[in-house]
Amino acid sequence: MSLVVVGASGNIARVAQSLSSEVVFVQRPGSLRPEILRDDVDELFSFDYRDESTVRSFAAKVLQPRRPAAVVSVTEDALDPAALMSGILGTPAVPLAVVRAMRDKAKMRRVLLERAPHLSVPFAGPGDDEALERLFPSAYGVIAKPVSGTGSSDILLLRSAAEAQALPARDQYLFEAFAPGAEFSVESFSANGVHEIVAVAEKSTGGGFVETAHLMPPAALDGTARAQVEQATRELLDALELRDGPAHTELKVHDGTVRVIETHNRPGGDGIADLVALTTGIDWRRVSLGWPLGVRPTRGAGTAAAAVNVFFTASPGRVTAIADRPATLQGADLAGWEVDVVVGDRVGELHSSGDRVGMATVTGPSSEACRRAVAELGPDTIVTTEDTVQ
């Protein structure tokens, strides 16, 4: 039986091919090079899968006769259509309502308010002007984020109700009281409602709340706090009724309290799956994609005690120089190095993940060692830019 994968990257496509002798790829036009298809084995359908009626007819008329084993996705904007198709086909999957409660940040807040209010923060849903007024003044400001945003795009820190009122497309934003504290992300795997914590990472962010590093395991989380984070994750997933599959949950810890920032029924992005593999031996992409086929996380010998993905950033301007990959790092190893720009490219303001200019993966004997190596690396000095007037 075939496996249907929605919104695959090249990496995910290869994982899918390792899971099934036949893969049906459902992609947005131009998002997957057809060379990756296995000859006379894999199939490809390219269309805008964000259109629900198109997805429904596709599932009923094209997929139903193929009787696939499962429809899966680990891509944010494809989680909803994958669940929709699974529901129509009756294949194992996270129910659509659960996916939507996790993807829709306002819905997630409402569920949390009802079932686990201690994990939430004061918020105002889209169009709820009264609640929005009540959020101000707030000690740390108010976060505005698109209800279905991804990649840290368009997240704003507001200081006044007037700023909120002035936002274009204000009715598509969720407003939340800013939660202070250190931020962590949790990779978890659920089976029949039992949530296994696969790994925890410590997150660093830069301007515009764009993620600039993920350190696994966290350096700034003692045993007690880690237990709190794990417990909070389980309560959250119970509240949202996620019973099966992977989840990536972001939380903040401050003065002994844990607040949920957001959660998704997929593995974390930014190469977090590679950190999981390095530190736990678990092939997290394979588990996340293959769980409806029975694939489960199996801990093995990780190749490193700690690992970090650190992203390179640069000031806006024209790229004038790019540092060489260092041959060695003090007390750590450089496991990966990618620079996404070349001299002459223009770098913009850091507004989303796509504005980062490269990435390194560092492994070491401890999280502290990784952290020191990242400081030595200087991720904001790898790419040099020169301010230019356009």
Binding site: V41, E43, S46, F58, K61
Partner: protein, 411 residues
């Protein structure tokens, strides 16, 4: 004009360089193709942004995908060039009220019994003797003498054709072909040379016809074998074939299409209908015609199915040279290689294409060729000499040959 392209050919052959055969803008092209056989050759997402790739081995999957695409994208035209896709395209057109060849028209060019029944009903006299067989029916007698051809009513590429000497062998061949799901006919084996007439027809009016003689019958493909065609530029045989072709097309009524009609010519000079198809000819013949006349019959077919006037030269003159196509099938031993010095060693080579065998040592159908070359010469005798020279060169051991680019099929 939102157009669905059902493709099983090498993509660039069917749609032209960067989809240039198609009168539709890239955003209006919906390509349904396969990986196998170059179905994605030269694929460019900017040329075909809407891409669907299926395993065409499963007809039901192909049809489900095609129907969904037509419904979802409100397709206005369907283009299909491969014999196996013509009926599906016609069926979709009828079901969704789209212009272009309908099922009735297409059947007259697909069902080898129906096409002959139609010709016979119209009083056409140039038919071989033939009979359709019901499933499991045993032949107890045939109204002809000599050898018998047993073949699928729906076959293509001369793949499902068996030539047998007696009734026992005929029945065995029928059962063998039936086991593959085919409907069967039997007809007399006609001795004589074979010819093909390739035409561009617009609203029933023949705009262009090329007459060519096969070097060997299409059914004679075998490992290491040779086939091909030579264009007839004049003479009584050509004139009689033009008339016969016009007569046949007048009865079968393709509407607007490129057609490929085959005839036998008995030693007595009598012409006998073999079969007709409403699609461009395969196995390199389109390249032969382009060299001889400057007419791109593949482009014309795409344009006709798209509902626009076919692109033809303002004046189509008879070619000043003798023009021929030679096809060399994969060798039994699988030692085929690109003949890199062919153009140096054979004068008049106008095009040469090497396809690494998809099933080494085996030839699956008449178009499953390894070497394909189009040549010209001042005289027919010289052309014959050059065609023979091509054979010598491609059969000679090759060195430093590039690797083939086509992946091996899974089935």
């Amino acid at each position: 004009m939102r157009t669905l392209i059902l493709n099983r050919h090498v993509l660039t052959w069917a749609t032209g360089d960067r989809g240039g055969h198609l009168p539709a803008a890239p955003e209006d092209r919906f390509l349904l193709t396969r990986t196998y056989g170059g179905g994605l050759a030269g694929y460019d997402a900017s040329v075909f942004p809407h891409l669907t790739v299926v395993d065409t081995y499963f007809a039901d999957r192909l049809e489900a995908a095609a129907r969904w695409l037509v419904e979802t994208h409100r397709i206005q035209r369907i283009v299909a060039l491969h014999e196996k896709d013509l009926l599906l395209a016609a069926s979709l057109r009828e079901d969704y009220g789209l212009p272009g060849p309908d099922v009735g028209t297409t059947l007259r060019f697909r069902d080898k019994v129906l096409m002959k029944d139609t010709l016979r009903a119209a009083g056409y006299s140039g038919l071989p003797r033939y009979c359709a067989l019901e499933p499991g029916e045993e032949l107890t007698a045939v109204p002809w003498e000599g050898r018998t051809v047993v073949k699928s009513r729906w076959g293509l590429g001369a793949e499902q054709v068996r030539i047998v000497d007696d009734l026992a062998a005929a029945n065995a061949a029928a059962r063998e072909l039936e086991a593959g799901g085919d409907q069967i006919e039997a007809e007399e084996f006609v001795t004589g040379a074979m010819y093909h007439c390739d035409s561009v027809v617009r609203d029933g009016r023949i705009l262009f016809t090329a007459v060519s003689r096969y070097l060997t019958p299409p059914g004679a493909f075998k490992p290491g074998g040779v086939s091909g065609s030579v264009v007839l530029t004049g003479g009584a045989v050509r004139e009689s074939l033009l008339a016969e072709n016009e007569h046949v097309l007048g009865i079968l009524s393709p509407g607007s299409a490129v057609t490929h009609v085959e005839f036998f010519r008995r030693p007595s000079g009598e012409l006998v209908f073999c079969e007709a198809a409403a699609r461009p000819p395969g196995a390199g013949i389109s390249g032969l015609l382009h060299t001889a006349y400057g007419v791109d019959v593949v482009r014309a077919a795409v344009e006709l199915q798209s509902g626009v006037e076919p692109t033809l030269p303002a004046t189509i003159a008879q070619p000043p040279h003798a023009t021929g196509l030679i096809l060399v099938y994969p060798s039994a031993g699988g030692e085929d290689r690109f003949a890199e010095d062919l153009r140096d060693r054979v004068p008049g080579v106008r095009s040469y294409h090497y396809s690494p065998p998809q099933s080494p040592g085996r030839v699956r159908h008449a178009a499953d060729v390894a070497h394909k070359a189009v040549l010209t010469a001042d005289t027919e005798a010289e052309l014959d000499r050059r065609l023979a020279l091509v054979l010598d060169v491609v059969r000679a051991p090759q060195t430093n040959a590039p690797e083939g680019s086509h992946a091996a099929p899974n089935r």
